[in-house]
């Protein structure tokens, strides 16, 4: 029983990180219809920027995370301007391949600048807390809490602010949004900004319990794709719920099935879903 609860807590931690990454991915897909294969590279870059800010500039953990979110957000904007904007009318094959090109470049870049080694990120929240007989590191508590805070903030941003409303409007109908005077270019840049920041935050939170290395984005991005298909491509609540579902099924699968094959679980789920329903679960009608 205790093991089960411990694993559920682990699932909550892992699921939080997945949800953050999937949120960014689903925002971009829902609004711009780009499956951004380079999102994993943004995640990886986020981890490295935070690490550099802490080690090189000697900044505290939180400040480093905020700087990293801004830098990666801008990197996302740059990506949109330089690559996806020119390709907005191209056949769908093209933006996928272009995204792969960016991914390759950023990975090689990280390897060039920071080396191929696995690096650890120090955290001021390394101490262990005991809650009702369960051991939990502060970092894990931090991940869970800050993810929930960010999700609530994002919700209010989208629902209560004008920019948020225009993002929602554009996701519903691009031409329509343009007609009523929304600057769709600005919204597209804003979307990439948020998406990049979320990826950077997720990486910075997860790095102290995982590691930082050039290939760290691979598995995460693949799982994020699984999550957004699970939750309906472009749906924000879907990405959050999907992230937690995947987090739980992985940590339970690792305990009760096999630790070696825990990474396959996500893909098996996806294969089953798409076999039963080729448009993904909860797909919007008419898409």
């Amino acid at each position: 029983m205790e093991l089960l609860i411990q694993q559920l807590l682990n699932g909550l931690t892992v699921g939080s990180v997945y949800s953050l990454v999937a949120l960014g991915l689903t925002l971009v897909y829902g609004i711009l219809h780009i499956p951004n294969f380079a999102h994993g590279a943004l995640y990886m870059m986020g981890g490295y920027v935070t690490l550099t800010m802490m080690n090189q500039a000697g900044l505290p953990y939180w400040l480093a995370i905020i700087i990293s979110m801004i830098v990666i957000g801008l990197l996302g904007v740059l990506m949109e301007r330089l690559v996806f904007y020119p390709l907005r009318d191209a056949p769908p094959l093209h933006d996928k391949i272009a995204a792969i090109g960016i991914l390759l470049f950023l990975e090689a870049f990280a390897q060039f600048v920071w080396g191929a080694d696995y690096q650890t990120m120090a955290t001021p929240y390394g101490n262990v807390v005991n809650v009702l007989g369960l051991t939990l590191t502060m970092q894990r508590v931090l991940i869970i809490v800050s993810t929930i805070v960010i999700m609530i903030l994002l919700y209010f941003f989208l629902k209560k602010t004008f920019i948020g409303a225009s993002i929602i409007a554009m996701s519903q109908n691009r031409e329509g949004a343009n007609l009523v005077g929304i600057n769709t270019n600005k919204v597209a840049m804003m979307t990439f900004m948020i998406s990049g920041s979320l990826a950077a935050l997720a990486a910075s939170l997860a790095s102290p319990i995982n590691l930082v290395f050039p290939g760290m984005g691979h598995l995460v991005i693949l799982k994020a794709f699984v999550i957004i298909i699970l939750g309906g491509m472009g749906s924000i609540p879907g990405a959050i719920i999907g992230g937690y579902i995947l987090g739980f099924s992985e940590s339970l699968g690792a305990t009760y099935i096999s630790n070696d094959y825990k990474d396959i679980i996500a893909f098996v789920i996806l294969v089953i879903i798409l076999t039963v329903k080729p448009t993904g679960l909860f797909a919007k009608e008419g898409q």
Binding site: Y29, P35, F37, V83, P86, L87, A90, P92, L93, H94, D95, K96, I97, A98, I100, G101, I102, L103, L104, F105, L106, E107, A108, F109, Q111, F112, A116, H218, L222, F225, V226, I229, M233, D260, Y261, D263, I264, F267, V268, L270, V271, L274, T275, P278, T279, G280
Partner: protein, 346 residues
Amino acid sequence: MTEVLKQKKWLILAIAFALVFPFLIPNNYYLHMMTISFIWMIAVYGLNLFAGYTGYLSLAHAGFFAIGAYTLAILTVKAGLHFWLAFVLSCLISCLIGLLVGLVALRTKEHFFAIYTLCVGYIIYLVIDKWDNLTGGVRGFIGIPAPANIGPISFQTPVSQYYLVLFFLLLVVFVMYRIIYSLTGRTYIAIRNSEDLALAIGISTMKNKLTSFVLSVFFTSLAGALYASFIRFLGPDISYISVMFDLLTYLLVGGIGTMAGPVVGTLLITFLSQQLQFLQDYRMLIFGPVLTLLVIFYPQGIVGGVIRWRAKQAEKSSNRQAQTVRTANHFVAARHSGNEKQVKEG
């Protein structure tokens, strides 16, 4: 007729060059490079048939390459089958797996298909990586035999292996050519251009997509089996996503959806990366942006660009021809009327 000969001229030249290459440059290193790039070309032809002509981006092809390679390795080493029997079987088994994957994957469209196949590719990688007993896991698979003799011909030397791979490459090019310029190939192109339209004019898109997918898996796994018997060592890395990206780069640089694209792209990139040896792991610093810029500014690739340029030239010259014909007609007409006048006067 001369036009056909003109087109074939390059093909004949290329084949002749490939045939005399081992004698022209008797250097084992370059021979090795050439053989490896021939193997990649076969794999890229597989990808080209499906991505270039049928219009679906499959990101699982590195996985099928690895399945071809590993099946050959397992069948020869673990099951002790005769090499050529194992060779044929490994292609057939890959096709069977491809058929099963295709049956499910092809019900999805566009982005979903790409993501689905990306995940299938990753599953293949994880299985190879984790299934120690069968595949050797991260340690890799060693002791794969070289191709067995066919009658008196043995394939122990690098030169003979070069010719073996060249033979398969030419076979694949020939088969590709026959497919593309047949009704089947035209059907694939129709599906690429508009699946709904193809469906509307009575093409069974599912059946055609499936055959195209299985055929492309066949080519790619054939390349994998050749790779295994040539390198004779396998690691899980050959099924990793980066190999998939290499294949895509070869295809895009050469020209997606063209017959000569895979050859041009693969040769150019493999030799360029040899020249850029000092970059080693960082070659993607250059190839990543190249891939992206290519897709933005020059999506038709080198061969596609040449074809377009030629078409323009042909159009120009045909315009000129039409003009000369028109003036000639005028001249003739003028003379005719002149004759008539003369007759009248006469």
